[in-house]
Symmetry: C2
Amino acid sequence: MARVRNILVGQSGGPTAAINASLAGVMDASRELGLRPIGMRYGIKGLLDGRTVDLSSNLPGKLELELLRHTPASYLGSCRYKLPDPEKDDRPYRQLFDEFNRLGVGYVLYIGGNDSMDTIARLSSYGESQGSDVRFVGVPKTIDNDLLGCDHTPGYGSAAKFVATATAEIQRDSDVYDLSSVTFVEIMGRDAGWLAAASTLAGSAGGPSPDVVLLPEVSFDERKLLDRISNLLERQNTVIVAVSEGLRAPDGKLLCERASSGVGTDEFGHLAQLSGTGRYLAALTRERIGCKTRCVELSTLQRCASTTASAVDLSESRSLGAAGVLAATDSQSGVMVALERTSTTPYQTRLVSVDVTKVADKVRRVPRHWITPDGMGLTRDFELYARPLVRGEDRPAMVDGVPQFIAPLRG
Amino acid sequence: MARVRNILVGQSGGPTAAINASLAGVMDASRELGLRPIGMRYGIKGLLDGRTVDLSSNLPGKLELELLRHTPASYLGSCRYKLPDPEKDDRPYRQLFDEFNRLGVGYVLYIGGNDSMDTIARLSSYGESQGSDVRFVGVPKTIDNDLLGCDHTPGYGSAAKFVATATAEIQRDSDVYDLSSVTFVEIMGRDAGWLAAASTLAGSAGGPSPDVVLLPEVSFDERKLLDRISNLLERQNTVIVAVSEGLRAPDGKLLCERASSGVGTDEFGHLAQLSGTGRYLAALTRERIGCKTRCVELSTLQRCASTTASAVDLSESRSLGAAGVLAATDSQSGVMVALERTSTTPYQTRLVSVDVTKVADKVRRVPRHWITPDGMGLTRDFELYARPLVRGEDRPAMVDGVPQFIAPLRG
């Protein structure tokens, strides 16, 4: 007879449209294996305050999982918390392992990005040093697609699909008047340009791709951008520039910092958080070229839009959640479950486990050879890579004209 | 035998997700009646430059109309142009009627908002004074829903559905961390709060409505807002405030102007366009209450999001386009076709024609009795009014993961 043991699952880092699909996958496999799923409220930080929820009673059936997997953001709540070096301070570790013990937990799953994989690495290593048999497995999640050790991350496909869709729509919106204008679309991604690159997938929506794409991987060349825009405006009314919020000047400084220092502090004495990269470039272009410019920040909707979720992404995210449970019950620990691509045409992947220390605190950037030589566009190789990830629709149930989500957890 | 005559159609004002559905309706009825449809490129302004396109060849069949009706913004291009008083300057009128003559046009349809209805009023009146038999009919369009003479305007339902959906998503995104925060969602609407009011339709998406809604119809009371937010934060982590960009202080000044004057000019010497109403309120609340605040501007996507189009809106928009053709061929002129609501439960409307001079240059605001007595919410009557307008999904065909639009007009 299989030992019935409890499984503890947490979510960490920023919200995505797919993180709850991974939680649904954890629920699938837990039920299949007769494990009792317990949720950390607000991640490891909430757990340190003893905050857990019984997931069997909150998510009792298939209808709840269907609502859950379409609900954006973190159902369990999240945190941004970094465990200290246990050599210097082992108190949180002792407290957490006491908590695992008290809860009768044999498996801990943490759904998140870089920092969450660091948490898994530290807990696994600490547990090993203490002879604990609790297993620790990471399930990847980040719209930024910047984790090493995997082909791509859950959450990226849906965010990329939103970015491509919004870019196609903004392009039509920008082209209605008979005058020269430049529209900057500011896209998330502080260290890696994967999401800004996804704007080029707009290309098949009955119009051209964005004319220019600026990524953090290539340092910003003001002269080259203004020359390109001027040239484009000689033969077309409207220029669309997709720009990563993390764009940097040749001196390594973020463009948005440069913008802020120009504008100064706001009336309350804070550094104005008014001027992002896109706004800065719009002001610069208006000044130097003299045409109408504007900036559209895609903002929060990039990570929480539910109606443009990618079917491939939601399906893979759910599979990875279940795979995390299987890895843990297979006695793996200190690993992240991940997707490895075995073929692009046709698109095929397989589930693998990777050593989490090879992932934690590292950043994977867009390879330079997927960026055009001029640094202002993406190559066909990028499209081959990214296109399969945005394919397929998987939308939430609509009730009374709006998407239906799972009721929020209380307490 | 019916005389075959040409029909000229133009689009004017800001883009919406439904204006091309009205153009598809014009095509439907034109074909039905054997009329030859000609498009004004960039509205009346383009027509003054002699710019027209043959619509039969650009939109030859049903597939093109299907792509067209899901394509946001103005397929024909748009303008913001106000005809002068003909008593003072009748040159554009003479030029336009020469153009109608040259093109063999018997009917002119103009799809747009307030200003477009003014254009219809002036052309119709001038034509009458000259004994012209050209008929002029307006087809309403504006996301702002601020036209008199109709129950609601085409474009509003889809924009309202986007606003409600985005508000529900942002609400989930805002509630992931265990800390006090206030999120301001800035929504379009300079003179009327119909769109900001639509944020309350988020209420059925598995969570509460926004906690506070601020409309231009009610002058802003800083003390009351801060008190309300403080009270809410005593019992919940997250407060969502939906705010109309057109919010005004008691002195009648736009809040966003106040914000700009505080921040001053940008580094290029322009008045910083950085600080909208929502950003101002976020800075104010951070300063006075001391909690985390942020502002999400729904921006351009409100008017061009295609994947959250309302089925009711797209269907009504198409019907109104066709109704415009029927009104014109029925010899009506100087009218706007419109929807009159005959019943709310069940939702039913009928098509009517209204004297365009009763619509032009006027603004319809949210009635005070649909706003709660405290001025920070909407009553049940508003929901009864607005809910039917956002019901039903009607999404563009998706190809390769992105919406498919009609190819842009060239030339």
